[in-house]
Amino acid sequence: MRLSLLAATAALALAFGAPGAQAASPANALVIGTQLSAVPSLDPAAINARTVSEIVSNLYDNLVMVTPDDLQTIRPMLAESWTVADDKRSITMTLRQGATFSSGNPVTAEDAAWTIQRVIKMGQVGSTDIALWGFTKDNVDQLVQAKDERTLVISLPQPVSTDLVLYSLAGASLGIIDKKTALEHEQNGDLAQNWLKANSAGSGPYKLTTWRPNDILLCDARADYWGGAPAMKRVVMRHVPESGNLRLQVEAGDIDIGQYMANSDIEALKAKGAAVDPGPGLGFYYMAMNTQDPDLAKPKVREAFQHIIDWKPLAETTMNFNGFPWQSIIPKGMPGAPTGEPTGYQYDPELARKLLAEAGYPDGLKKTLYPSGDALLKMAVALQASAKKAGVEFEVVPGEHTPDFRARKYQVLVGNSGTRLPDPFGTLVQYAYNPDNRDEAKLGGYYLWRTALDAPELTQLVTQSKSETDPAKRAQLFTEIDQKFKAMVPSLVIVLQRTDPYVIRQGVSGYVGNPTWSTRWHDVKKN
């Protein structure tokens, strides 16, 4: 009896001692450590989050694309060329020859038309960017048609800047799907939604081999890709929830790219020679105030709240890789965006106290503060402390509060936004657009609506910027919107512009984070 126990311990010790040299990530495979927790589907039309957009943009090709270094220039991809009609109400695109899906079927204009129609008909989060141009379930079949094998015509129901339409076609959700293969797996008219959740039918450089939610994603390269076989034969995305664990693996060389890492781990890896792509994003960290709350409805209170956020040390320490100070609703570098350091509101507890007293609250205010999710908790705690000095008492309630934010059931909330449209209109439609302020409208997609602040003039200007086709006029419109937004003491206080850092192991090159979240693996190399 005793012997068997000793034998078992010895066996364990032997195995324990020598599981072989830790297999560093192989030379021709790229290993990405990330969070795969909230990925309900790999269907391009059903997704808009960052990580899954990256996956989808490597399984599927778009008609056109924008590269990380120049977000304004629209470049050809599956569409070789395109022309805009004189009345600017339709775009005719000519598809390239020789591009094939992973099933071997050739990529035709019919696949492109069907894909766009499908996105609109499904009407899920993937359609937000393109639905803005007026496409609906009823009109999309007539408006988007394949003239022949290689020609696709897109007619616009309303006057819209064609650049905006093309930008939305570059988004991950508009990845072109192999119509024939998809329809083979359609289940009672669901446009193959269920099948595409865990399978891929695209023409991208990689095809899906294994997908286990919250665990692992395996994609293998296609040697016959029309844009040339990618260097990395296999790409693995591994779910590593613990940042410390991920950092150790990057240090040990088992993982090449680290995403969603804690700032201290990024700093440590940077010090050890890893490259850090700051990954500027098209979104902001903001503090939202629900103007249905009687106190927050008063502009003077909102003005005071602009001075309770100590954003300098926040950007330098707690959130140093999560964003840089920014106070405009137009992303930096975009047409109409201010230049230089933000000069608007500074952290000034005394001023805030004075303003609150003027607004009728001599001994300050007490409100609940919701972080929109766990990632925002540390920002909420920092805000809680800095606001205390200004006489504002915040009770922080941790948890998942995005649903409350959408349903206007909150007082003060800190959150972050993101969009994939590389055009100011993308953020303006979120922050300065509120066509119908009634509760029944349920326009949860617009942040301004969530704060219940009616701004008809701003809304009108934003609609105008959508249809304005002349670039110079659009830039002037954007600046005007930005100034008017600041002038009305908005219910959304912009604190930082968002950055999503990627840590890239030494010896890995060609991995560049795309602000529109269509980060492509095609050019990644290892030496």
Binding site: P19, V125, E242, K442
Partner: protein, 348 residues
């Protein structure tokens, strides 16, 4: 001649009644489990309709789905339909993974079972000898040391221990892997039979994949095992003390039996069955520790699946996972009772 008891009821009838008595209590407990998870699901602040339709939905579809889910029916009717659905294995669809919850549970549960089994093995290999040593040397320093080592296992926060072990055994010594159940090279190489990687690879003779899987499971398993050492060693100690005081020990020694044989071949042989029930209870307790360990080691198991469900207010996941854990607990207790009867000659 059928054996009858004092009220001349045939033994077969008695056994049947006792069996039915026990299955009745099992069924009642099962329904109780579902009542608990159902009410827990209802209390969760998430709106079940949005879980199905996604957050942007117009009034019409909202009402249609509301009706479809039967939320308009009285609560007890909803509970009955819930029990009906669960009986057929339909636990609804998960918000976070998009898959039906029952499919998710099938893929995550073997990972936790395997982790718990390795943990129990480690916990026993350390806990039992520790308990025996403490009992045999009662009162002497080794007794106190054994108790502190055991209790420390239960007192030290498991996630803290996990992180420290990672730094030591993974970062510095490179002995083990850091996360996941297997290296990406071996991913999908071995067709699953039981879903337990160690077993599947061993059965199919894939020894280096086995060693790789072992390298991934040994650290989280050992730490989770250490978490259960306190309970196992304490129970072993009290069982052993009870046996060492028995007369048959004196008669064994009078026969000239060596000390070691007296401890293991005689005293320990008597407590093996009792230890079985202790291990069964420990298995349940391990599911607690698994919840934390799986987060630290990125182990794609039931624990992580449940905590993510709770964090994302994914109601179907919470109800499904908690119910599965409850049922596992129940099954383990039943099996340990049955084994207790079979293995102990006195009650056969």
């Amino acid at each position: 001649m059928t054996t009858v008891d004092t009220f001349n009821r045939p033994a077969r009838f008695l056994r049947m009644r006792r069996l039915s008595g026990r299955t009745l209590s099992v069924v009642v407990t099962l329904v109780g489990l579902m009542l608990l998870t159902f009410s827990m699901g209802r209390l969760l602040p998430a709106d079940p309709v949005l879980a199905v339709t996604g957050s942007e939905v117009d009034k019409a579809t909202y009402d249609r789905v509301y009706q479809e889910l039967g939320l308009d029916q009285p609560v007890w009717q909803q509970f009955l339909s819930y029990v009906g659905r669960v009986a057929t294995g339909d636990m609804g669809r998960s918000l976070t993974t998009g898959q039906p919850v029952s499919a998710d549970l099938l893929s995550v549960f073997p990972a936790t079972i395997e982790l718990a089994l390795v943990a129990i093995l480690c916990g026993t290999l350390v806990g039992v000898p520790l308990g025996v040593a403490a009992a045999v040397n009662r009162g002497r320093p080794i007794d106190h040391v054994a108790r502190v080592i055991g209790l420390a296992g239960h007192s030290v926060p498991i996630f803290w221990l996990g992180l420290i072990a990672l730094i030591l055994f993974y970062a510095k010594l490179q002995w083990v892997a850091a996360s996941g159940r297997i290296d990406i090279l071996n991913e999908g190489m071995v067709p699953p039979i039981t879903g337990l990687l160690l077993l599947d690879t061993a059965l199919q003779g894939e020894w280096d994949v086995f060693r790789d899987a072992l390298g991934h499971i040994i650290l989280p398993g050992a730490i989770l095992g250490y978490y259960s050492v306190a309970y196992i060693s304490r129970m072993t100690r009290s069982f052993m003390l009870e046996q060492l005081g028995q007369e048959y020990i004196v008669s064994a020694r009078a026969k000239g039996v060596s000390r070691r044989r007296m401890i293991w071949a005689h005293a320990f042989k008597n407590i093996r069955v009792q230890l079985l029930t202790v291990l069964a209870l420990t298995f349940g307790g391990l599911l607690d520790g698994a919840v934390l360990i799986e987060t630290v080691f990125g182990w794609p198991g039931l624990g992580q699946y449940l905590t993510r469900g709770l964090k994302m207010n994914d109601m179907n996941v919470v109800m499904g996972a908690v119910l599965l854990i409850g049922i596992t607990f129940l099954v383990i207790n039943i099996i340990s009772d049955r084994l207790y009867r079979i293995l102990d000659p006195r009650t056969r």
